[in-house]
Assembly symmetry: C2
Homo-oligomer: 119 residues x 2
Amino acid sequence: MAVDRLSATLFALADPTRRGILARLATGDATVGELAEPYDMSLAAVSKHLKVLEEAKLISRGREAQWRPCHLEAEPLRAVEAWLEDYRRFWDRSLDSLADYLKTMPDPPFAKKRRRRRT
Amino acid sequence: MAVDRLSATLFALADPTRRGILARLATGDATVGELAEPYDMSLAAVSKHLKVLEEAKLISRGREAQWRPCHLEAEPLRAVEAWLEDYRRFWDRSLDSLADYLKTMPDPPFAKKRRRRRT
């Protein structure tokens, strides 16, 4: 069965090792050996994770046959953010309702500064 | 193996039917039967998807034994957004570079208004 792009991206991200690899690549390109260093797993196991990330187009790999450094490709993550966009109103709205509710209280004993989403 | 919360959320989202169910619930609570309507699958198959979503705490279900309406719980999605936050700079930076590049052109024939992220 063909898997849609967004599903492939989310599946690739649904693993802490693969997210760890992306976090490492966010600091710069790296070889399989370098990526494997923090993990107690074989190069083959790390390569499998890289294959999933590569198929989801979350990483690309250099052409040099021996080293093939990995490079982060953030574009699919943007699609995840775009998908999330429709749901953001749920937590924004929850905060708005809470703020409105607090405003109706004469002297709310537990009122705190409204948490703002980082932008 | 215990699966971390974020992995469970992303795994649950990595399926178009489950994302479709969330989209439906974003318009209001619904029963399994209502959620199954748009899909050419058995109630049992839809129930399996609901179980994955429930385990990931993306939905909660009413207590009424017979109907148990499903309710969207957006909180785990917020964790996904928080995780994405670290990577946003990659596409924001790409846009900045593009904008800077376009500024260096005397009369860019294809210059468009810079796309701005919706906030």
